[in-house]
Symmetry: C2
Subunit: 294 residues, 2 copies
DNA sequence: AATTTGCTTCAGGAAAATTGAAATGCAGAT
DNA sequence: ATCTGCATTTCAATTTTCCTGAAGCAAATT
């Protein structure tokens, strides 16, 4: 017979109460069960844990064991609690990478909600462009990402979240606003287009034509916005990007052709099983997106 | 079902080996037993600990549990070992008080032997006179004492160790040495007796007579010895005290009357059960004394 | 001395763990 | 795709461990 946690728990209860019946009450056992269990423990150690067969005075060995056992039980129960909390996503760590537009629009709400339900989870969020997100994912540096694979096939598991249609971002003083109901590609050709990585990847001929004519290309979104704000030109960007901005100065106009959009997806390595906390955040995001789309 | 140490042990073995059969081999169980035990653990947590039903890749929860469980098992096994060591007197602490003569004669040998057999036991030794030893014992400041109760009844449990006969301590130039074969009380009356606490307590009339005539009383043994060394006078002391000294200058002569002696005893509080280490030292002392008396 | 209190022991029964055999389910090979 | 071999799971039977309630003791109390 080995020394087991239950024996220690039994001994500690008896040592604390000073008698079998009270300890039995606490543990939900009969005194005889405790008596036998203590006997086992004593047989193990080859010595008595108590002075007499009355359990109200510890032997030197008993005092030593009590001290050790109390510490150990606390330790053990703490560990079990930690594990359970982790499993219930009440603790743990989630690392998330998302494209800036999503990080700035829907994530704040989702994260606030998630953290209020799981206050002890440690959450890390990075924003970066889609290719970087895929790289981080491959290196296992994030639990999952929110990005667009743009139709490129990847080894990752992708779950569509929503479609993010492209449109024109222009200054509110732009003449395009007047034509917004029946905008044509020809109208756009009259404007100065500020190209960027996202708009560049649109696979529609008319749009690609516009880009080949564009004389200005800006990679950084905030710089690009500053350009528009100063009426340097217009840009083609997804709608969520527009939502990041103060609508007072800059306006969003849908493209002349419908169906030009990027698909925002929740992306994760399919092999690695997520931590419970990550799974829970994922669930929260999906739920949030679905409720928003109604 | 609760989480138990055995579950963790099982999980750690499987996680380490990466498969059930090897782990089963190690634990001395069948794979099916481990499978069921893991299932229990997983049911407890509500999640899988492994990626697939092959046990070679841990889930995020599994990785977390492995880390916790390994630490905990080490902790637990360490504690069990500590307790067993304590019970086997391989560790622990013993506090011992002894009269100086014993501390200086037989204890060095006993303690050397005890410590060589129990290298991790912490041993504390004080020397003091018998009344102080009894006081320390009463205050539970020592585990046991080696002293003489001098026939005074005490509440302690006393085990006789050996008899320590009284005799004369005199300088080697003393004339008493010539008469040592048939010394009389009258011979002693010719000498200057240096009285001391131990000799004072001898209940023999002739001896008490000597003491009432004594004009010098020295309490501290080392001072008393210095007196004898300088031929100030003679003293009546137990034989073990004489053994502490270099025999070159000072000699021991038995008293004219036989049977004048103090009983050296091993004294302990009967109620408190000793620590295993104390018990073991006690055993060593008894054994040593018995072997020496043959 | 009688009673109460508290522990131990015992035998039977309940619960849990373990086993071996058979079934299932993957993964790599055909 | 299907087959094959290995690892895991499942199942029923068995063994082991644990628990209970009754009876018996011993110490403390009346």
């Amino acid at each position: 017979m080995q020394i087991k946690i239950e024996m220690l728990r039994c001994f500690v209860a008896v040592a604390r109460t000073g008698n079998l019946s009270d300890a039995a009450e606490i543990l939900g056992r009969t005194p005889s069960a405790l008596s036998m269990m203590l006997k086992q423990l004593e047989d193990n150690l080859g010595q008595s844990l108590f002075e007499t067969d009355r359990k109200n005075r510890l032997s030197a060995l008993g005092a030593f064991v009590l001290e050790q056992a109390e510490r150990e039980l606390q330790q053990f129960d703490g560990m079990v609690q930690d594990i359970v909390n982790f499993a219930k996503a009440k603790s743990g760590k989630v690392r998330l990478a998302a494209v800036p537009s999503v990080a700035n629009t829907i994530l704040p709400g989702v994260i606030a909600r998630f953290l209020s339900m799981h206050p002890d989870v440690h959450l890390e969020l990075w924003d970066m462009d889609s290719p970087s997100i895929l790289r981080e994912l491959a290196k296992d540096r994030v639990d999952f990402g929110i990005a667009s694979t743009q139709g490129y096939p990847t080894a990752f598991h992708c779950q569509p979240l929503f479609s993010d249609r492209f449109g024109i971002l222009c200054h509110r003083s732009s003449g395009l606003l007047l034509k917004r109901q029946n905008l044509s590609w020809e109208d756009l050709r009259q404007e100065r287009l500020i190209a960027n990585n996202l708009s560049q990847s649109i696979q529609v001929p008319a749009c690609q034509q516009l880009h080949s004519d564009a004389g200005l290309r800006v990679h950084n979104i905030t710089s690009l916005i500053a350009m528009i704000r100063n009426k340097v030109g217009i840009a083609i960007l997804p709608e969520t990007t527009a939502q990041m901005l103060n609508a007072d100065e800059i306006c969003f106009i849908p493209l002349p052709e419908a169906g030009i959009q990027r698909e925002i997806e929740l992306i994760k390595k399919s092999e690695t099983s997520p931590s419970p906390a990550a799974l829970e955040l994922e669930r929260t995001i999906l739920e949030f997106v679905q409720s928003r789309q109604i």
